[in-house]
Symmetry: C2
Subunit: 413 residues, 2 copies
Amino acid sequence: MASRSRLSRRNFLVTSGAGAAALCVSGNAGGYTSAEMRARAADNKLTGVSKWELDTPALCVDLDKLSQNIATMRTRVAAMKVASRPHAKTHKCPTIAKLQLAGGSIGICTAKLSEAEVFAANGIGPILMTTSNVTPNKIRRAMALRKSNPQFVQAVDYAQNARDLNDAAKAAGIVADVVVDVAIGTRSGVPAGDQAVAIAQLVDTLPNLKLRGIISYDGGAQHIKGFKNRLDQTLNRFAPSVETFERFKRGGLNTEIFSGGGTGTYNILPKAPGVTDLQVGSYIFMDCQYLEIGGESNDQVYTDFAPSLTVVTTVLNTYFLKSITTDAGAKALTLNKPGPWVIGEKDFAYNAGSDEFGVIKYETAGRSYKVGDKLELIVPHCDPVVNEYDQMYAIRNDKVEAVWPIAARGHSQ
Amino acid sequence: MASRSRLSRRNFLVTSGAGAAALCVSGNAGGYTSAEMRARAADNKLTGVSKWELDTPALCVDLDKLSQNIATMRTRVAAMKVASRPHAKTHKCPTIAKLQLAGGSIGICTAKLSEAEVFAANGIGPILMTTSNVTPNKIRRAMALRKSNPQFVQAVDYAQNARDLNDAAKAAGIVADVVVDVAIGTRSGVPAGDQAVAIAQLVDTLPNLKLRGIISYDGGAQHIKGFKNRLDQTLNRFAPSVETFERFKRGGLNTEIFSGGGTGTYNILPKAPGVTDLQVGSYIFMDCQYLEIGGESNDQVYTDFAPSLTVVTTVLNTYFLKSITTDAGAKALTLNKPGPWVIGEKDFAYNAGSDEFGVIKYETAGRSYKVGDKLELIVPHCDPVVNEYDQMYAIRNDKVEAVWPIAARGHSQ
């Protein structure tokens, strides 16, 4: 099983991308820093800068692959008669949120209030915040956001919280939109069934809240390996949420939103009755964690979406046998497993466990490497890697077309 | 062994800090955001804001413990007749670098050039960059930094790199200071012995470089558990570096700097002949990883330095049996192991594996918890946690005294 998976990863790494020959570039005419690239972008002087000329580690997103992922999601959700409401915690980038909305998504999700504030400030209207706001100041800010943005919807999962939201909405002079967060597993949300129905009924009686429906996200289902296994477990774990949804309906409670799912279950959750939209996040970038779960059409590598997000790194040391040290460690790639995949090299095991350095161990290499050479990596887990950078470089045919601020980077509050 | 260690951690968690009673606070009069706190700091209106009123997750540093750590290091290194040259990659904060210099340190280290540039721009003179600069643009920038800051010293570990540095120094019209980075293990630096001596001899002949000595850092030694074990392995692994240092001396090469060690080996490395200074980083904050290695006086918990760095988090969910969900996950705490320790609770196992949420599992709790309550955490590994925040709150007696920008946050280039 491990060897089959490895073989498949190996094939993927040498056949995907722009071809192995282009994936390591020696020399470094530019080496443009983050600040230099921002200045060039402001002056419309990006023409001709290659991704191999960026100061490293550099976070890059391939525009053709990004567009392909948006188009694929649009086609697939339309065929399944649902919508996409992408989770912006993945990219934290207003420019990408706008591309997603232009590409047919009905809105975005955010995990944190400080993220929602950034996206709203950058002109994004339809925002569903999937975590409840429980402290007085966050509740007050959420109401201010709702007041200035009628398309802001927030989650609720406690009766007392519903009453607090109602009081704050009244104080703000608004009627605020809420969805009940129905738990799958034991992380967040109210347990499905009686407790969830009771909160919805309470919300329905509160004059300054408007019930919009249900959100129900299963974090544990997204990375179940093997499509059939993931399908069975996801629908099984989602069944109590569907029952709750049906009790809402029978009780005359609003169910216009029934939102859930993620990149691993985007083609599974629509098989459950009533689901309106998918909170897909990682599909826009992909990463090693998702690549290795396998898809419906390929059980070894999940190829429904293209890996658009990469980190370019520089070789710093080749003194040691079967070992290469780079300048991208945990602060550039996180500790998520599996470690980064080196594009173009079948046999490289990249360890990002050191804060400042990456260490590659290998038995065979497609070419020889020397200090200063560049390598391009598929990232372990896209969300927290993006959160380590202030900007990403938008790349087409290896050239930088734009510098995108990651405006909600670090907004974990 | 595991149970002894656990017991000891448990005692530590209830006896350290300000006492368990103060370590969880309900209610939240303020909930001040990052921006609000920056504005209050600018207006000198911080008086009276408690750490429990900060919007969470909030990164806090206790000023008394920070001062205590600086004073302890000063006393200890003086007794061992060496100096400290703290690694600023740990805190990325110019304010703390200034406190370290005021507290007797002879300079700071940085891992990356972009960090060095930030510290220099914030008025820090003596900077030793411990990673070599290998690309043309980084070399050019390093020379510009050296030109404006005569106290900047950089590492070299390849002959070609020495020649490149010399050319760039000549072009900049300066003589640049370098140290030879002698490897311990297989990550960075030139192997000890002939190859290291040859580079030093080459540097000595290059007219625009000035050899200052040796750096030799053993990342693998810092977290060896048990003091005796760590002592033996550290000195054993450091022996080739000492031999190389002695060959430098015999060959008439400058050895005014012989720098190495870290928080785990600060009281070990000075036992090796010739060591001039210690690149200690984490001592300023401490973290769970260091606490559990044990020290010379306490084999279970490393108590030489006080855990000054914490994250305050808010309880979001208590529906589930023996489980508490908080708002601080991997984006606020990283995936480093061991997971965060909850101050005041002996039996809490905190899992920060989810990007946005922390999940605590427990058998017994010192009190009951409800949504909105605050908890304070000792962080798993200080360096990458600090790198996830734009600012830290400087706390004394639970009150915020200052807001410190983490100016080099995200500077992984």
